[in-house]
């Protein structure tokens, strides 16, 4: 996917003007956090589970090579294939090759962020294979040729009217005067359309919420059951997953599952949780004949042993998006690439580079709400700051900011000079602003005054006044 992260401020501006989007974001950020809170309260050991989940992934990241090889071994023994792909190109080509070998015309797809990351849909389409998204949200945005705006709620930016318009435009074989006012009607229509596609598909392409090393299984979590029809009906099942999705054991997978849905939607469990292991065995009545796992790196191993390693604990629950005031203000598309919110602002620079994504770690107040709710206890604010530090150390911070910072630092390190200068500023500004106690505009505070008045200083710095007072006290006591 081509990134527009460089235009983050412009993207954000557009998003802020979009009333429909603003309404949708309002709903999202009140609904999900409340449900998460209630779910966490119902489970006394929730905080302990977060620690456990974090420890599992930390252990995996320290021993990634071992568990990946164990996983490959188990997949192979169960009759499947593991394909190691360094980057998007390799992953796309691998998937296309498998599809072409199977003479596939259509590929059903259950939601996969890695699928978005490698832009598999466009690639398959240009090579004569039709991909069909089967998650309702993904299906809607595929019809609209839009990227997802949320990890777990990809069409959250759309209203039901917009979805109805899309269906009326795209489902041309149906009565153009049909009633699509109710969400239920939209759901029924999508279900009707998708049912045929499930049955026709030659290949099913899924992501993976986790990969289990001890069994060579992939875990799929959905609320619609679409993943099961995606992998279970066609002859070929392709799993595309990034390599940090691995967990050592089934026991570990269930620990992560216990925090995943609760953090994401406030559900105890997602409606469907599926463990897929290898292709259909002779004694099985159904299942795919081929089982392929496309394991993608795409820059992730470069994050290992850096200050960003902990980001690889992320299980893509979307809780940090739901709780982020910046995400709530601008939505997912403003971030300009596949991921968004705090996890996106940390991960995107790691995957596509800081030159492209330097706005994202900066566009945060570091309020810390994301870290406080992250099921994997990822220190997101710390890593946002780490990107800023890297940028600064590499001399990529803007010249203007750099000079301003240097001038301020020069003073702050010289207390006498600093207090002299602050004394002058405070006395000038307090005189100018005396009447109203604030400024509507001020030359040096342009950005602040765009939308806010600037409070005027009370006059006389604290340190100066304190010293004067102390002097008077001393004189009096003499």
């Amino acid at each position: 996917m081509q990134s527009t992260s460089k235009q983050f401020p412009e993207n954000a501006h557009e998003a802020l003007q979009d009333e429909g989007l603003q309404q949708a974001l309002q709903k999202l950020s009140t609904g999900f956090p409340l449900k998460r809170l209630q779910a966490a309260k119902r489970l006394p050991e929730f905080e302990a589970l977060r620690d456990q989940a974090r420890n599992i992934k930390n252990h995996v990241l320290e021993n990634l090579d071992y568990y990946l090889e164990q996983f490959e071994d188990k997949v192979t023994k169960s009759g499947g294939h593991v394909h190691w792909c360094r980057n998007s190109d390799e992953a796309r080509q691998t998937i296309l090759d498998i599809c072409q070998k199977a003479n596939a015309k259509t590929v059903t797809k259950s939601k996969s962020m890695i699928g978005e990351e490698i832009a598999i849909n466009d690639f398959l389409e240009t090579n004569g294979v039709t991909p069909i998204e089967t998650d309702l949200g993904e299906y809607i945005i595929q019809l609209r040729h839009e990227p997802p705006s949320h990890i777990i709620a990809p069409a959250i930016h759309l209203s039901k009217q917009q979805v109805a318009e899309t269906f009326l435009k795209q489902h041309v074989n149906l009565d153009p005067d049909r009633d699509l006012d109710q969400p239920r009607q939209l759901l029924e229509e999508a279900r009707e359309q998708l049912r045929q596609k499930f049955l026709q598909a030659d290949v099913g392409l899924t992501g993976a919420n986790m990969l289990v090393a001890e069994t060579g299984s992939n875990v799929l979590v959905t609320n619609e059951g679409n993943a099961d029809l995606t992998y279970g009906v066609p002859k070929v099942h392709i799993v595309v997953a990034s390599l940090e999705k691995i967990v050592p054991t089934l026991e570990d997978a269930t620990t992560v599952l216990r925090v995943l849905a609760r953090s994401a939607t406030g559900q105890e469990m997602s409606v469907y949780t599926t463990f897929c292991t290898g292709p259909k065995r002779p004694e099985d009545t159904d299942g795919p004949e081929q089982y392929h796992v496309v394991l993608l790196d795409n820059g992730r191993t470069d994050l290992i042993a850096t200050e960003f390693q902990e980001m690889l604990r992320c299980i893509r629950c979307g809780a940090c998006l739901n709780h982020c005031p910046v995400y709530k203000a601008v939505g997912g598309h403003a971030y300009g690439w596949v991921y968004s919110g705090p996890m996106g602002a940390v991960l995107i620079p790691g995957l596509i580079g800081m030159d492209e994504a330097s706005h994202l770690p900066n566009a945060s107040t570091l309020c810390g709400r994301c870290e406080s709710i992250c099921p994997m206890r990822i220190p997101l604010p710390k890593m946002l700051r780490d990107w800023r530090t890297r940028n600064y150390q590499q001399g990529k911070t803007g010249i203007k900011s750099r000079y301003a910072m240097a001038a301020w630092a020069f003073m702050a390190k010289r207390p006498k000079l600093y207090h002299g200068v602050m004394g002058i500023i405070s006395s000038v500004l307090s005189k100018l602003g005396k009447k109203y106690g604030r400024f509507k505009s001020l030359p040096a505070a342009g950005a602040w005054c765009e939308s806010r008045d600037l409070p005027a200083p009370q006059g006389g710095t604290f340190i100066q006044q304190w010293q004067t007072r102390r002097k008077q006290d001393r004189e009096q006591s003499l």
Binding site: P9, A12, L16, P325, V326, A329, V330, N362, A363, S364, T365, L366, C367, G368, R369, S372, R385, W387, R388, T389, N391, Y392, Q393, T397, S401, M405, W408, A409, M411, A412, K413, P415, Y418, H419, M422, S426, K434, K435, Y436, G437, R438, A445, A447, W448, E450, S451, R452, D453, L454, P455, A456, P457, Q458, G460, T461, F462, I463, Q465, W466, Q467
Partner: protein
């Protein structure tokens, strides 16, 4: 720099507390500093204001300029470590000292030890007044209804939530109305608010809408950065809600004009 003798306070058996006013209070609103001093003295402390204090270094730290942040952290530690306690009328700057200095200096054992020692004796103002020394003061009545804004660093880095409420409730008949979004960021974020003013304004507006919903006549908080952000936007939107630091209420120093107000309260 003149080292103050520690023998004095042992003699008086009063804890010697250094006030770190923070650069914003120093420049913008010295009244908060004096309110803090008044409360600390009422709590039986001997108060000093070390004169070589400037800024905790957070603007540099959050901009990625680690070298400057480290320099300023060392400057702060050297200036403040000799006191029994350091009290800061800001969760954000308090968080910088307590939460971030030890991390910033982690690879230098000598400075790490000094940073940790300072961490252990540094308190945000309401934290100190609740957990260490309670002010022996007759809290005056405050007739306007209030709502409290939890600043992010205070809440999440220092765990400040109950302390300001506990103190506010000592004010006779205080009408404290909680906002549903009291814990949501106000949109300040230091340089964030001038780097991304549109997003910041959207966040402040959400905060203000929640404040308006409470019906409170005054917004109280523990961080001047947040309070200036909220007050500046309230005034621009033409809303007549007062904004004050919690120390002003507790110290009964509400005769000074509220933040971003002219000399006559409500005027301007």
């Amino acid at each position: 720099m003149a080292k103050k003798s520690q023998t004095a306070e042992t003699k008086h058996a009063k804890p010697h507390v250094a006030v770190f006013a923070t650069c914003l209070v120093d420049l913008q609103r010295p009244g908060i500093g004096f309110a803090a001093v008044k409360l600390l003295e009422a709590a039986g402390c001997r108060v000093s204001v070390p004169e070589n204090q400037t800024c905790c270094g957070q603007p540099a730290y959050n901009s990625g300029d680690k070298t400057t942040a480290v320099d300023l952290a060392k400057q702060m530690i050297a200036e403040f470590e000799q006191y029994d306690y350091v009290v800061v009328p800001s969760g954000s700057c308090g968080g910088m000292v307590k939460h971030h200095y030890p991390k910033l200096l982690a690879d230098n054992p000598h400075w790490f030890e000094r940073a940790t020692a300072l961490e252990n004796k540094t308190f945000e103002l309401t934290q100190f007044l609740c957990e260490k020394y309670e002010p022996d003061i007759a809290f005056k009545k405050y007739s306007k209804s209030v709502t409290y804004h939890d600043s992010c660093a205070g809440l999440r880095e220092l765990g400040i939530k109950q302390q300001p409420r506990q103190l506010l409730n000592k004010i006779n008949k205080i009408n404290l109305i909680e906002g549903e979004e009291a814990e949501t960021c106000c949109g300040f974020g230091g340089l964030f608010c001038v780097k991304y003013p549109e997003i910041s304004t959207k966040m402040t507006d959400a905060k203000i809408d929640d404040i308006v919903k409470t019906g409170a006549e005054t917004v109280i908080g523990g961080d001047l950065g947040c309070l200036m952000t909220i007050a500046g936007r309230l005034k621009r939107r033409g809303l007549d809600i007062e904004v004050r630091h919690i120390a002003e209420l507790l110290a009964d120093m509400t005769d000074q004009a509220a933040i971003a107000e002219g000399p006559k309260a409500g005027g301007g």
